[in-house]
């Protein structure tokens, strides 16, 4: 394996680990916190998770600014970025469906995977259902490659 490809794997592993650590520290990994944030009529609304999104955008933005000044990333021949610009029904419909699932259980994909380390059966059940939903969408509902 070429050095560059190997370093790419190391970066992916580290990035995942730092991301998983951040999910734990921020409280995103805890469904009760997510529901405490999304449930605005509970009488004890917890707005703290706004700071997670705000903080994340603050540090991601310099990365984006840097990326726009670079011809290619350090460890790959080119950037792999989304090219679509159209706001279509699939984007809004899919996001609406995702939001309902997120609000019902308090899990989105990243925190759910990170929470697997707790060994809770409900987390494994969520992951199995999520993977089934992804396969259902990608292989049956649309036969396009992801």
């Amino acid at each position: 394996m070429k050095w560059q490809a190997f370093m790419g794997l190391v970066v992916a592993l580290l990035s995942g680990a730092v991301f998983g650590f951040g999910l734990c520290l921020s409280g995103m990994v805890n469904p009760a916190r997510i529901i405490g944030f999304l449930d605005i009529a509970s009488g004890r609304w917890d707005p703290s998770l706004i700071f997670v999104l705000g903080g994340a955008v603050i540090t991601a933005a310099p990365g984006v600014i840097l990326q726009r000044r670079m011809a290619s990333p350090i460890l790959d021949a080119r950037f792999h970025l989304p090219e679509k610009t159209e706001i279509d029904a699939r984007l809004l419909g899919g996001s609406a469906i995702f939001g309902i699932g997120w609000g019902l259980a308090g899990f989105c994909p990243g925190p759910a995977i990170a929470a697997l380390s707790t060994g809770l059966a409900s987390v494994a059940l969520f992951i199995c259902a999520m993977v089934a939903g992804m396969i259902l969408h990608d292989r049956i509902l649309t036969r396009r490659s992801p």
């Binding site: 790419g8 680990a17 921020s26 990365g63 259980a105 308090g106 939903g133 259902l136 990608d138």
Partner: protein, 137 residues
């Protein structure tokens, strides 16, 4: 205690953005977990995506080592609800081309109109779903 919660949220958020910035500048890829898992399931860039998921699984272990206790994970929803929610999250994130990480963090940082629309939409339906469930509880 109250201030600590906000500080931890902000600090955690800064760390999330940092890891997304690193993946973007070094590997040239968007840190979007639903995209990473979806591509993995589709057999694309298996090694890179497996490495990221392994890292994500290791994150809480690093947290437990650093803080001397595992992260708190409290699940409110019943098992049938968890099953339904997982299916909705799986279908919805693939149909909408992203989730809280790809659209919410990177998309907003890139000032993408698509991601802003997606984030507004999933926050709105998430608030409705969680609030309705709260009223039913």
């Amino acid at each position: 205690m109250f201030q600590q919660l906000y500080l931890a949220s902000l600090l955690g958020g800064l760390i999330l953005g940092l890891s997304a910035a690193l993946l973007l500048v070094l590997n040239g890829r968007i840190l979007g977990v639903s995209g990473i898992v979806g591509r993995l399931l589709g057999g694309q860039q298996i090694a890179l995506n497996v490495a990221f998921v392994l890292g994500l699984l290791a994150g809480p272990i690093l947290y437990a080592i650093a803080y001397g206790r595992p992260p708190v994970v409290t699940i409110i929803a019943s098992r049938p609800l968890i099953l339904a929610a997982g299916l909705l999250v799986g279908v919805g994130t693939r149909m909408g081309s992203g989730c809280t990480s790809g659209h919410g963090i990177l998309g907003l940082a890139r000032l993408s109109k698509r991601s802003l629309s997606a984030t507004g939409t999933f926050l709105a339906t998430g608030i409705i779903a969680a609030t309705v469930m709260g009223l039913l509880r």
